[in-house]
């Protein structure tokens, strides 16, 4: 997928500068709107969940085909939640190193640890799926559970991809300085968002 080697030097001066009415970084602003949109996506899935839970079901969790209530692994998932929450701090630490100390190595480490924690979270989640004993086809309970956690898992995956890209940019393109690191900030904002959603999901779906 070769693009012509960028031989662009003249146009970048010749192009008139963008007219800016405001100093908000475009990248961050777009990420905020995007997250707003994602919030609404989860909102629609949660809405379905609430309808099923409060509008239809007589008891929650409902009974499975064997006549026993469905069970969710609260403890293991609790540990998993802690792992994901921790990863929010590690990414923040990485950003902090870059911002205040110009420490690119620190950023790299922060990213690596975060990605490791995120990956662990996903693995534990997959493991949970394997051992749950019910499937998405098992009543609306199964459907809402898998769709909510599945969509969240997908978002963790997207977050991990973003972090990986940031890592590649730091490593190979030596991007990001204390003054400019918009893609990194945006990715980390997204990561925090994925975390917050999980905490909500854990509380609403697993605990209460």
């Amino acid at each position: 997928m070769a693009t012509v080697e960028p031989t662009i030097s003249a146009p970048s001066q010749a192009t008139p500068p963008p007219s800016r009415g405001s100093q908000i970084s475009m990248g961050m602003l777009s990420m905020m709107f995007f997250i707003g949109s994602e919030v609404m996506l989860f909102g629609s899935l949660f809405a379905a969940y609430f309808f099923v839970r409060f509008n239809v079901a007589d008891q929650w969790p409902p009974l499975n085909s064997a006549g026993e209530p469905f069970e969710l692994p609260k403890i293991i998932t609790g540990v998993n939640t802690a792992i994901l929450v921790a990863s929010s701090f590690t990414i923040h630490w990485g950003e902090h190193r870059l911002k205040h100390y110009g420490d690119r190595k620190g950023l790299e480490r922060g990213l690596l640890v975060t990605m490791f924690l995120g990956g662990t979270f996903l693995l534990i989640q997959v493991n949970e799926y394997i051992h749950l004993g019910f499937t998405p086809q098992d009543q609306a309970f199964g459907s809402t559970f898998y769709t909510l956690t599945g969509f969240h898992g997908l978002h963790v995956f997207v977050g991990l991809t973003l972090l990986t890209l940031c890592y590649i940019r730091v490593k190979r393109a030596h991007d990001f300085t204390p003054q400019w690191s918009t893609p990194l900030q945006a990715s980390s904002l997204y990561w925090h968002f994925v975390d917050v959603v999980w905490v909500l999901l854990y509380i609403l779906v697993y605990l209460v």
């Binding site: 662009i8 192009t15 007219s19 009543q139 459907s143 590649i168």
Partner: protein, 920 residues
Amino acid sequence: MATHAPTHSDPSGHAHHVDPRPLSYWWKRATLWSAGSFLFSFGLIWFMRTIFGMDPLWVSQVYVTAAASLTSIGFLIGIGCFDWWWQWMTGRRVDGEDHSMHGAHSWRDYFKVNTDHKVIGVQYMAIVFTFFVLAGLLAEAVRAELFTAGQTLGDGETYNGLFSVHATVMIFLFVIPAFAGLANYILPIMIGAKDMAFPRLNALSVWMLIPGGLMMILSPVFGAFSAGWTAYVPLANQGGTGTTLFEVGVQVVGASSIATAINFLVTIFTMRAPGMTVWRMPLLVWANATTSALVVFGTPFIAGSQFMTLFDRVIGTQFFDPAGGGDVIAYQHIFWFYSHPAVYIMMLPGFGIISEIIATFSRKPIFGYRALAFSTVAIAVLGFGVWAHHMFVSGMAAWLRVPMMITTIIIAIPTGVKIFSWLGTMWGGKIHLKTPMLYAMGFIGVFVIGGLSGVMLAVIPVDIQVTDTYFVVAHIHYVFVGGSVFTIFAGVHYWFPKMTGKMYNETLGMISFWIIFIGFNATFMPMHWLGIQGMPRRVSAYDERFEAVNQFIGIASIVMTLGFLVFFYNMITSWRSGPKAPWNPWRGRTLEWLVSSPPSLFNFEATPQVVGGPYQYGIPGARHAVVFAPEEIGGELTETEKRTIVVVADETVASAALIDEVRHRASEGLWRFTFAVANEDGDSRAADRRLQVALSVLAESGIDASGTVVEGDPFAAVAAVSAEEDVHEVMLATYPTGMSAWMADDMVDRLRKSTGLGVTRVVVRPEDARAPLSLPGVSQVAVVADEGLGTAGLVAALRERADRRPIGVILLSPMNLTGPGWTDEAEEARSAAFDRVRAAIDGLQAVGVQSRGEVLDGDAAAAATIAVTGHRADEILVIAARGGRLESDEALAAVRAAAGTVPVERIVVDAEAPASPSGS
């Protein structure tokens, strides 16, 4: 010459690096990637199902879902939407200011990925109008089925498929993206930006429409998608595979909308030119900001609802299946929580367009700017709290009904505020009834009807009676066709000159409007009655007693379709060969009118400065923005916001002498020219035809000129212009002293005294004022005529041509002399011919068409040769008197042979009828 940048095709001397890869490369790559990912998706699913031991191995829904999604992604990768990001992702060096895919240099650039918002805007419009035609054909198929009470086309399932796909394509692939396309072109220029915030994302958005749209339009082939555009469960879960394609297609198109909306929001938030505070933003910008917020926060709900139905269909989840503890009504809640705001997604941008047009064509500041802005936001906010008015009879929680009725009725208030603001703007304004204004006014009328039927539907008892009947169909179409489609058409006409650099044909525009307007009302008005009488919607066979009305509707819908055909004919021919558009044909104030048509590669040479509100029509000295010249010209930024020279003329307006003088003054680079044709007692259509000739010639030379016909004397003409513009000087074109009534009245001195401005006089000889201009911008029509010369038919034919584009006419009268030219008979024939030529010139002059004539000894073919070689005619018109010698086919063939490639047309007229001097 003006100091502004040349147009589009010339990147104004920038060292603009252009991507060298040809069109075929991209399309080959797209084909390969699409085919590859199609096969890959099958392999992948087969592989996964084998590994996990899923049984059976072949479940068509699963394969279709995977194939549709992955092929879309493959296509987008192949066509090149991700190339730049791929470089970035793999850690290579990239240039953020890479403009190698920016701007169109030939038509080919419109068929590949381009990052220029102007090219993308045009791509959007081309794509959405294609879908408009397809969905329109489906609508006619629906009407064909309903022409008789019984079942005719296929079975009920076919019919369900027809109306479902019709509605889906109209909504998701015409109305929503059409507004995005118009705004894509106009909005960045309006706020003084060089482009959108994320040009590459912008390109991705437009290209996503293609796979998404194809999925929807092709869905019937795979088993009708038949649950209607609302895709209610459980019906949606039972339909054919087409439904799966619909559900995936909505995701793709929805993603495109969200991406565009984020792009608009960021563009509007961060890229406004200095001085453009929120209260100076044109109302179109307000409308698009609000709509984009609705898209960003609303569309995910339809995405969510379609994901869940897709899972129910494809992998057997139980979201909406009561047997498994699911909730059917939940689907409707989630769907309408998006889709009610979605109706405003389809209306608010239209409100924005209308605000622009009403202000410009009423020549008055908009009435209640802030009220209009706030009501837009209010509608959007309230719009999220009314969704259950679609569900009064669905069996939802009963306590929700009354609150939803109240909120729904309340939402009519901000809508009413808008209507009154527009009426207030028009009140006492100088209304110019051009096509965009006609559409805008038509919109107001029919939208009020649609809004009122909406309020009726909001009232629970009424709704229980008429829900799911044709009354709802009537409501929908009054707001969608009368609302969204009319505003899109208004916008397309309004910005057509800016987007294409050509003028559309005003007469055809008006004809199309009237046909569509009448056809539309005849089609949808009777549906109110049908609904109240109880004819249910979405059925193919109905009660006999409704048949007559349905047949009337069917015929009316064909009338409306004819109107659309006229529209398309007008747009396509004008785009190909219309007269060149001036910078500012409507004398608008917003920034897009202060740059050339079409705008240069980066719209502005330097960042413009906004200094006032956008709609201060009629306020002397008021200004919206200042546009600066590029550095190369001024050394440093020079202000070139030009002051106006008012050119006052009557019959003299299209004379060579006046054009020369204007060109000469234009070379000083300081002026813009506003022509005011003072029409004291003549025919104002004739005056307008002459004016268009002058404007077209000046547009061809790149001079910023606009003009209007003013009923009254030169004082009235100057006053009309100086009420709105910063006038510096008056240029008065008159006949020589002694021949001119104005000079006899001492006009120069009196004007100077009464206006306090300098007056330059340009003297035009009467024969010059009548003579056709042979300059670029005027097409030369040679008329070869016998006794038909000097008849009313000739005048009518040329007048009709002059309404299409500015023309100059050369009248050639061949005498067909066979013997010597000095005999008495020859002399007699010659003087008769001269009389006819003179009469024709007079007749044409009266309708504002300039002409001159020649009498020739030879025959028609010789005349045609002279027309082509001597006069470089663009078109030859043979006017044959009935029964005369030119009526024969040999004569026509001889003319055709002599004309070579120049088109020849023959018109047969009655020689008896004398030329009517008053024309129209």
